[in-house]
């Protein structure tokens, strides 16, 4: 439900209806109510991301191939799933009010870990470049969910992934060191 309509769209009544459990069970197991339910759901979801990233960045294919596979897989999954499911983390983050500090902390940590997992697997020259490019990758993936949902098509993932793959390939440190690449103009 978080993937479909974000936090605001996932009402307690609807959660209870879909779970087919009595409402008493929900408050028994989740005394913190919706905040606790959302927080724990996001934590479970976020914990899967590093392992998922490792399946793409498996050390066998290039980082460019890994990025292309990541975005193509996201496109295919999005279309197969009915073109209506986004990323729970992204959808919830855009629903946060100033006072949702507990849920924001989970989102922030999830994005930080996700970025760090990708950054560690990029063949770029320095830590700063690896971090900022990983931020672009995660931002592009999150944004592609938005464009894809508006267009009801996975094509935005494919467009973004293609460019990200070409860019990481052009800035591969082996290539740059051998003088065949081009260093970015400013600190990256």
């Amino acid at each position: 439900m978080l993937r479909e309509t974000g936090m605001a769209g996932a009402g307690i009544k609807e959660i209870v209806a879909r779970s087919e459990a009595p409402i008493g069970s929900l408050y028994h197991y989740f005394p913190g109510g919706k905040t606790q339910l959302v927080t724990e759901s996001l934590r479970i979801h976020a914990a899967k991301l590093p392992r998922l990233m490792e399946q793409f960045f498996d050390g066998k294919k290039t980082a460019a191939a890994a990025l292309r596979a990541l975005f193509d897989t996201a496109a295919d999954g999005f279309e197969r799933g009915g073109a209506n499911k986004g990323c729970a983390l992204g959808a919830v983050t855009l629903d946060l009010t100033v006072s949702d500090t507990a849920i924001r902390a989970v989102c922030r940590q999830a994005f930080d870990d996700w970025v760090a997992t990708i950054a560690a697997r990029l063949p770029l020259l320095d830590d700063r470049s690896r971090h900022s490019f990983a931020v672009l990758v995660v931002a592009a993936l999150e944004g592609a969910f938005i464009l894809a949902r508006a267009a009801q098509s996975g094509q935005p993932f494919r467009d973004a992934g293609e460019w990200l793959a070409a860019t990481v390939s052009a800035n591969d440190r082996r290539r740059v060191r051998a003088g065949r690449g081009r260093k970015p103009r400013r600190r990256l």
Copy 2:
């Protein structure tokens, strides 16, 4: 309100309270209720985007400088605004249910126009490259709002903008034609 918590968070009661107008006026001027209000708000918002893009891609600075300025301005604006406002289009899109066809059509058209406006101003080799890179730019901007809101910092915009600027510069058709650039490996 759409920028803060998306469509689901913008309830009629709250809209009336913030507008300081009687609820009768709302239904008088917007007989279609919330759907009409959201649709018209998004249309007005979206209509500003091409002009805003032209301010950055003004034909005087390079596309790379325009992209860096666009993302740096977004970062500064985000931080000055309290680090809690996203893009209304992105927030609403992630709240759409399958049946929100009228609002989805507005979001889709807005993104299509936005992408086309940027694509027309990119110094890349062909239409397909310009379109797909513009998709990456818009996706990165939308995604940066998500990461920025989670982190309560505009830095994700700056990170993404820096790489997009470097990438468009490296693939500038004048550079590529002069043999100093590198053609993407696959159709872009």
